[in-house]
């Protein structure tokens, strides 16, 4: 890999990182990107009481975990692909292994298992910060190079590939 390629690749990942943090729904839930290492992405979310599943308990609604898994999985596609072609979620399957209690931040760790020109297969684990017990696991399939506009740092839009 040449030096110019390396710069270009890290630019693609940092642009995807920036894009993820600008997504309105991600901002609404307070999602943050913690790290992108190779094909692995870590994202974090601090629960609020309006994210709970019931008024009478402090359990976080499963759908909040679902959103976090979808966002982290989407970023993991870019982490592996290292280019910014538009992608779309084809399907996502969540297994909720244990209740997520709202007194700790949620972490999502997503990894790209396989990438082809057309699709990406992602696995994502959801945990409570400071606890190794899995709260939920997700498997998602993404379509690559879908119709849409590419995102460029600075907010300029250009027709997608």
């Amino acid at each position: 890999m040449t030096d110019s390629n390396r710069v270009q690749h890290s630019d693609a990942v940092s642009t995807a990182w920036q894009f993820t943090e600008q997504v309105p729904h991600g901002r609404d839930l307070g999602m943050q990107v913690v790290s992108v290492n190779g094909n692995q992405v870590c994202m974090r979310l601090t629960p609020e009481s309006w994210m709970f599943a019931e008024d009478s308990s402090e359990e976080i609604c499963t759908s909040v975990l679902y959103s976090l898994a979808d966002s982290a999985s989407g970023l993991a596609v870019f982490a592996e692909a290292r280019e910014l072609s538009p992608t779309a979620t084809l399907d996502l399957r969540m297994d909720y292994l244990r209740p997520a209690i709202g007194d700790r931040a949620l972490l999502a760790v997503a990894i790209c298992r396989q990438l082809t020109d057309e699709v990406a297969f992602i696995h994502c684990d959801i945990l409570s910060e400071g606890d190794s017990a899995l709260l939920a696991t997700a498997n998602a399939t993404f379509m690559r190079n879908t119709q849409g506009q590419q995102f460029h740092a600075g907010g300029r839009a250009k027709e997608g590939a």
């Binding site: 019931e54 976090l68 979620t89 084809l90 996502l92 969540m94």
Partner: protein, 163 residues
């Protein structure tokens, strides 16, 4: 609300439909995250529909723009939970075990609707199939299956002992 293979459910009287509608509304109202998403129950001839109004906070891709996949996931999971709970004679609060959602079309930044079908309501579990659409009901934007666990008496007693 329709149940597969149970045509009697579909011919319920208008008053029964209204009661079911207000029951669903009350169950949704108890879920803080459903209130945040401003989900509301609407009654149509074909059954109950949950409406999710569009807001900027629901956008997942501001370039298209399109709704976030997780927002569609939430609509599907929450209507499944309310459908399963309303079918349960003891209106036990179900726990979502898993959900599998297929995204069929891009979800535009506009009102989204969902309806639920109970595939099977067992003694301990419920399987609910949900479909989502926007302008045209025949053009689905997503479909999902959600499996829920209905807490048994034994599990409830175990919870009491823990307290």
């Amino acid at each position: 609300m329709k149940t597969i293979g149970d045509s009697a459910q579909q011919s319920s009287s208008p008053t029964e439909k209204e009661k079911e509608c207000s029951d669903w509304g009350a169950l949704l109202e108890r879920i803080p995250y459903a209130r945040h998403l401003e989900l509301e129950v609407q009654r149509y001839d074909a059954g109950l529909v949950v409406h999710m109004p569009c807001r900027e906070a629901l956008i997942g891709n501001f370039m298209l723009p399109a709704l976030h996949g997780g927002v569609i996931g939430a609509l599907i999971e929450l209507i499944a939970r309310v459908a399963a709970q309303s079918q349960d004679t003891e209106t036990r609060c179900p726990r979502i075990l898993d959900s599998h959602i297929n995204y069929l079309r891009s979800a535009q930044a506009r009102s989204t609707f969902a309806s639920a079908e109970i595939v099977r309501q067992g003694r301990r579990t419920s399987l609910v199939r949900v479909t989502c659409w926007q302008g045209d009901k025949s053009k689905l934007i997503a479909s999902g299956q959600v499996q829920l666990l209905l807490p048994t008496m034994a599990a409830k007693e175990a919870d009491l002992h823990e307290q």
